[in-house]
Amino acid sequence: MSTRYFGQRIKRNEDVRMLTGQALHVDDVNFTDMLHVAFYRSRDAHGYIKDIDVSAAQEREGVVAVYTAEDLGDYWQPGPLLVPPPPTIEGLIFHQRTQVPLAKDKVRFVGEPIVMVVAESRYIAEDAVGDIWVEVEALPAVIDIEQALNEDMPTIHDDLDSNMAAHVVQKKGNYEAAVQQADLVIKRKLKYDRGTAAAMENRGIVAQWDAKSQKLTVWDTTQAPIVIRNGLAAMLGLSEHQVRVIAPFIGGGFGPKIMMFYQEEVLLPWASMKLNRPLKWIEDRQENFFATTQERGQVHEAELALTNDGRILGLKHNFIHDGGAYIPYGLTIPLNSQANALGPYATPNYYSEFKVAFTNKPIVTPYRGAGRQHGVFVIERLLDLAAKQLDLSPIEIRRRNFIQPEAFPYNHEIIFQDFAPLVFDSGNYEPALDMAIEMIGYEQFIKEEQPRLRAEGKKVGIGVAAYVEGTGIGPYEGARITVEASGKVSVASGIGTQGQGHFTSFAQIVADQLGVDVRNVYLVTGDTDQFHWGAGTFASRGAVVAGNAIHSAAVEVRKKILKLASEKLEAAEEDLELADGQVRVKGVPETAIKLGSLAVMANPLRGAVRPGTEPGLEATSYFGPESGTTASGVHALIVEVDPETMKVEVKKYVVVHDCGKVINPLILDGQIHGGVAQGLGNAFYEQLHFDENGQLLNASFMDYLLPTALDVPRMEIGHVETLSPLNPLGIKGAGEAGAIPAAPVFVQAVENALGDDAPEILEIPLSPNRLFELVFGE
């Protein structure tokens, strides 16, 4: 191969389109006869619907249809359970309760849709929503996740005895025996509160039923278009070939856009068929705070048993996970928390028990990190506290407990979110730690800078935390690669794209195999008419699973090219090379055929094609990893705390990241930047404040604080490459890594900055106000 694109820091193919406004988003899809949808959403967090009066809305000029649950007839069904609980965990309890298209008898969170209005414009639709009267007999709201499980709490799902949605115990070794041998046991209660992903583009759907072609086309801000297509076809009684779901450019996914099936996703296609008109619903920012799924509420009672020299003997934690009103996503998040509490550390004995609580709050599904944060927060905090007690540095205690390179594959002996045993495929943690310490200047900071700045009255502190990220889980993805007559190469894959740089990183993989310019590789993702096998973009799996499928298809196409070229050029395959968009004989560059010409020869208009030969230079391949591959890394930062205002400024932020072979470091850096921004937001800015009635008090960007460009520090990024043995490219996922350890490393540094009288910080998110309370008392 003449050009090695793989591993190169090249600019993104898609950026020109995206930056000049030429990338299609759902709200760009318009039809002249299109109608607009708005929803009447519950004002109450919990209660029985006694009466719904839509007559005034129906009479409003410009209103075309008003639907309640009753109008849906048999189409009204609870949504599917997207991820069932792992069948292999013994004694697991799981109460499947999934969201309904429109609330019928009961409302379970503020924002739950009750009535759908279809009108000539969104303005009229919103006016008509104002005409609707819904009488609700309010019930006490279940908000606090610890109280939610109390026996005297009202039940959110009336057919259950309590608000416990699930109960899972996983263990390894014998924790109780380990405690007997321990020199030190650190016991704490740790809390993590809710936030929202706040993608720049809210959700949106355009559904167009074409009665003449009998085809339904849906443009949807989904991370999983194929699953939506298959589900819609089944629900609507159509053939899968009658339904086309297109996930065009999407302004950020972060997980919540994969919660198929959102109520709106179920309702718009149905109503479009009913009315025989295209319909559009674009979620506005206010709706997004209620209608899109959220995450992060957990409370952990955790303990860590150690020897005097800081070696972990065992970890135990009991935690409650806030499931929200419905749990369509099964146990993915708490299983991730369970797995990630083990971190990169050898933990011989482990006991982990969790309960999922139904609450009268918006639905919870994975959001970037997806429970990994919580596990990492628990173990990293306990290690910090143990280090203090044992007079070890935070670095030394981590170093002493890292799983050693020769121990891989390392089996943690519990079940992961992909139902497979939690086995770390590969890893080498100390080099990343060493690099991070070096980059942040740890020794110099502790010995020189910090004492000097403290003498000036400045409160500066440093933090270092490690983490692992389970990535790249199955089941599979696929791709079809075609060399076109023009010499351009097209790649079709089923996964959706939300800004990850797929148009470039996937093109790099293909360009290397086929010897073409990366700009001549044209990628189509997220259109079910182009490719209709696959699962979706989530769990940091796009590059790993789709990337390897694309690589495999490219290898197949390369074989076809060589075989045909060998005939045409009358040369042995091993004497041929692919470069500059052509196949040529090594050392005889004038004996060559352009790939486009070869593609035409492979698809002749006359003459016979030999039996067994497929037309064209095309191949379709799939890749399905047996289990996920484990990325890892270390974050380090320096902060300064203003002792008067408790505002915290991040002075320096270092990330050393190991996701195996890096396809494009530029894109990877971007992933990490965004992840850290979200992680710091989670640590110090973003918190959803629900009152005791389940009303969200800060449903706007005025009061829900995202860190802006002014608040996110510049980051220095280092890479370590420990290849994954689980896929041919040796790559691991990277999508969530930036966000995962930001909170514990931030907290460690703030504690360090506050010095000897620092409070123990056992909760996330913080704020200047909360820090003030922790330091000076409430």
């Binding site: 104002g130 205002t645 002014l710 309370e773």
Partner: protein, 292 residues
Amino acid sequence: MKPPPFEYFAPTTLDDALDYMADYGDEAKPLAGGQSLIPTMNFRLAQPEVLVDLNGLAELAYIRPAAGGGVSIGAMTRQRSVERSPLVAEQAPLIHETMPYIAHPQIRNRGTFGGNLAHTDPASELPAVATALNARFRAQSRSGQRWLTADEFFVDLFTTALEPEELLVEIVIPPLPAQTGYAFREISRRHGDYALVGVAATVTLDNNGRCEAARLVYLSVGDKPVEAVQATAALIGQKLTAEAIDDAAEIAAAQDIDPPGDIHASVTYRRHLAKVLAKQVLAKATARAKQE
């Protein structure tokens, strides 16, 4: 997040605008920069039946020397123009210093000086600063005009003394007395956010270097700008030493204000910040007064 239907008028002269205000009275809302009104309408929290758009009134966009000294600012002057005005910097340096705290440049490009004051958001910087500077407000209606002091103008939460048919047309900032220093500071979560607490101060020294007069006006601690009168009373006749300033700041935080608690700041934290900020602005204003 779409507003309900409303009628819209876009007059090009003040007289026409005042006619619309007279005709529609209570149903009408004047639209200036729209940085508060439009979001409020999109949230359907405000549902005016009539909007009278003042953006065509070029006659209300000016900054010029005021007759008796100081500066006179037309109500429709963009905040960014005030921020960049050399005349404002010279005649009303406290306003010049405060402008960058107001949201972000994009918002200041649209937001108007008069619109901000007439909106009377208790978390807004300009009402507090205007109070500290003894600004005067000219209100006009079809039947005439009247002048109001800051105390008269700011009535309550989002409420001014303007009658439904009146428009705020001009604000006059008098010059600072001799040997007067000034300062403004605020604490917000992120740059450009509404302040958790903010405070403006002026300090006038007599010829012996003692405090002759002082103003300390807070934002975000009540329903309107809150003046710390007990704190400043304690300063009169004093040498403004660090101790004197500390004492005044303590009085301001403990006695002069009764701040609310919310999701961003508890009552205790607000009082703490009020003290921290009072110290800072009084010290800075005193230092500046000494340089005069």
